[in-house]
Symmetry: C2
Subunit: 211 residues, 2 copies
């Protein structure tokens, strides 16, 4: 019964039925790129790490830059702040802010290597930086801004500029811990440090915004 052997074959980058080789290439490339940076990774290494030949890579990606850009595009366009804010009641603003903070910090940690790559290669891939900014920080700010405006309209908080305030709230979360993460420096007891960072950010923000 080797009928099904040749069945799913033709799609270059079909939604789901992509060849296992392509996925292996993407996984290996992403890992190597974020470990050592675009300029320090060769196509030979990617091929060896993915368990395929170099020619196989070039049959799926035009060149090294296209492979890199493809990985970045796919990851940049992922949603950043996953917490859904539209349905949340305005009275829970402290809990909501904390959830948003936790979600954001989790994504910062998870996306740290990619952020580093985007920053590093921004001069050579400007459109990638634009996608990253629009789908990441800008989208997060917009979502939080809308919620803050509702809370202010209910008279629970007093914020002069909700859009700026949302930007400030996320900025508060990118403190020294985040810098050390970006720089790849060691952090002792990261869980506790992150928890304190989040709590202090919410506290500072709400002390300033109390009605």
């Amino acid at each position: 019964m080797e009928i099904e052997a040749k069945a799913p074959k033709k799609e270059p980058i079909s939604p789901e039925s992509r060849s296992g080789k392509v996925e292996a290439i993407e996984r290996a490339a992403f890992q190597l790129f974020h470990e050592r940076g675009y300029g320090h990774v060769s196509m030979d290494e990617i091929a060896r790490s993915a368990g395929v030949s170099k020619a196989t890579i070039y049959s799926h990606f035009a060149d090294k830059a296209e492979l890199f850009a493809s990985l970045m595009r796919a990851n940049c366009s992922m949603t950043w702040v996953r917490t859904e804010l539209e349905g949340r009641p305005v009275e829970d603003y402290r809990a909501v802010l904390k959830e948003v903070a936790e979600s954001y910090v989790a994504i910062l940690s998870e996306k740290g290597p990619m952020t580093r790559m985007v920053i590093a290669e921004a001069p050579r891939f400007p459109e990638m930086a634009e996608i990253f900014f629009a789908s990441g920080p800008m989208a997060s700010r917009g979502a939080l801004c809308l919620y803050l405006e509702r809370v202010c309209a209910a008279g629970l908080l007093s914020i002069p500029d909700c859009d700026q305030a949302a930007s400030q709230f996320f900025a508060l979360l990118r403190d020294d811990i985040y810098l050390r993460l970006m720089l790849g420096l060691p952090i002792d007891d990261p869980a506790a440090k992150i928890r304190k960072s989040i709590d202090d950010a919410v506290d500072l923000f709400l002390r300033a915004a109390r009605a």
Copy 2:
């Protein structure tokens, strides 16, 4: 016997008597590195841009990595927050914070390309990242922390954790404008955006810290 007789000869990077060629190499290398990144710059390009031969570069720097590290070390160890805080009276805390913010943002803009390089090459030059963090963000935080403690001791502000607050204050200044700067994205009317960013950061911080 005459170990010290050849005094003005042996220094690798003597304080002031460096050849004009060395300076040209350093200037050209720094510019190229921050324009295109370590991995995308060749020694041939540096030599051509500096108007010297490649062999001349290698007579002053062991290899490419050493040239890069040398530039980073020199720039990382520069003072970050130049405003002297020790002599400032506690009553002027709003003006002092604004000055610190302006100083910090100016340095962020000025050091933007270098920060990008440090982040990009952190995996390959870990000790460089450590120097950068210690001489930059950490030193700034320490200086501001001491001033905030004095203001709190005078009863003018109420801050639970001055060290954390200093970290938060600088984090507030690294808002979306800073992100766009890091990503090399265009900013329209940067002067006005930066002014507003600083004013809003000081306002938020002081509203939260009022006694």
